[in-house]
Each structure stands twice: as C-alpha cells, then as structure tokens.
C-alpha cells in the first residue's frame, strides 16, 4: 500500500494475471465490466454508461437471491492505464456515497490492482466492513472452492 490508511478508508489489492493495458481496458467498457463486476453470482443491468471524466454509470446489481440494488458511479479522474478515481453510491444524491481510487501497477506476472475507498465517516467505513456487498442473506453463495469440496464430498462413499 502506498500510504497508511486513515480510519475512514478501506483497501484491497490483487495481482491480476494480465498486461496493464488489458486490465485497465476491462474497467473502461460496460461490455467488459458486466462480465466481472460484483461478488460471485451477481449480475448487472446497465441503464447509462459513459466512461469519461464527469461521465456516469447507472446500473442495477442483481443478487443471487433475486434482490436488486441500485448503483450509481461517476468518474472523477481517468489516467490510462494507471489510475481511475470514481464516486460511488446508490444514486447521485446518495448522502453515503464514497470515493474509490483504483491504481494499476505493472508487476512480474501481471498487474497489481489496488483499490482504496474513502468513506465520509468512520461509522460509514465500519458499516461497509460488515455490510457492503454482503447482500445475499441466507442464500449464501459459496466460493468455487466450497462448491468443489461439497461436490467431492457427496461422491465419497463413507458419508
């Protein structure tokens, strides 16, 4: 991480196995974004999409349990292929909207994507730790590992 996080921030970082131009590109086109944005099992429906500084992406996220969540994103700063800054909320006047900075760094074996979100208050940050995107309730979506293991277990003779 480039700098220490404040008590209003959360961050996550991952090495993505692809060239920086490719990784940046899939953040810029809705045909790509809709293929991977969101937790396992979620899908998106887009109403408005314009990737430019000041441009907006309005979409709905569909949870695996059938619940729909409104999403609104506005791009603030775009520097291909290094950085994207955006504001994210449920709608333009969402009082709890937050700012996310995404950095793309070339690394051995791929591109390090570091996403840092700054919330308006520590309380909103804490709420996000527990709730942000944890939407499915009882209809838990397991990771592919869990599915794999469960399938394997069913096949075992000694259950």
């Amino acid at each position: 991480m480039a700098h220490a996080l404040s008590d209003r921030e959360l961050a996550v970082s991952r090495l993505i196995e692809g060239r920086r131009e490719t990784v940046f590109q899939v953040f810029t086109e809705v045909s790509h974004l809709s293929q991977w944005w969101g937790p396992t099992g979620f899908t998106t429906t887009t109403r408005t999409f314009e990737f430019s500084e000041g441009g907006v992406w309005e979409f709905t996220m569909h949870a695996p349990d059938g619940t729909d969540y409104p999403e609104w994103i506005k791009w603030i700063d775009i520097r291909p292929p290094e950085l994207i800054v955006l504001v994210h909320g449920e709608r333009p006047d969402d009082p709890e909207r937050f700012t996310t900075t995404i950095e793309f760094d070339e690394r051995q074996g791929g591109t390090q994507v570091t996403l840092r979100t700054e919330f308006q208050t520590k309380a909103l940050r804490d709420k996000a730790v527990e709730q942000f995107g944890a939407l499915e309730g009882g209809e838990q979506t397991l990771s592919s590992l869990a599915r794999y293991v469960a399938t394997r277990k069913k096949k075992l003779p000694d259950e």
Partner: protein, 119 residues
Amino acid sequence: MARAKTTADAFNAIAEPHRRTILTLLKGEERAVSEIAEAMGMNQPAVSKHLRVLREVGLVYVHPEGKERRYGLDARGLEPVYGWTGGFSRYWNESFDRLNTYVKEMEGEKGDGARPVRS
C-alpha cells in the same frame, strides 16, 4: 467469564492458528495425519487433537482409504464465517477473482501472454 469451547462453532475452532494452517493444507487435497504433521513440524497426537476439533464443527471430513484415514476440508463448514465477514473485502475479492479469470480468457483469445496463438 469462561471462554467458549473450541468446539462451540467454526469461529471458535479457527481462532487457533495451527487449525487455520491445517485447513489451508487440506484445501484441494486430502492428507493423512502423518503428512499434516510433517508439513507443520508437529507431532501426530497434537495434529490429531486439532483434527478432532475441526471434525466436531464440520470443517473437516475423514475418508478411510484402506488402512489409512485421509482428511479433507469441508468448506461448507465455513459458511457462517463467510456470511459474517461479508462486506467490503468479500465484495472486492470475489470481483477480483472474476476479473482475473476474465482477463486471462481475454488475453488467451487474443493470443497474448503465455497461451499459444490460435491458427
């Protein structure tokens, strides 16, 4: 106040670092107690004790194979933990899982990277 028993639930069971290491070792492949003990540099009775706790909370299953008992991870036991941790990290870690798969496929189709070019 007395602490909850280690076998009370998955949360108490995985509070112990050695047991988390065992679960990591059992991701993807079944192992015998001797293999786990060797990988961790622990003695077998100590590993067996940890495995017993993990079995009681449903995180590990036993698969008898001939004379041997092989242990495997039952990730379904982790459901309450996933559900509870949820939140920001899970949202993005799962998005990044999907992103990584998608980017690898894209570069594969274009013939970039390590994959062979289609003729």
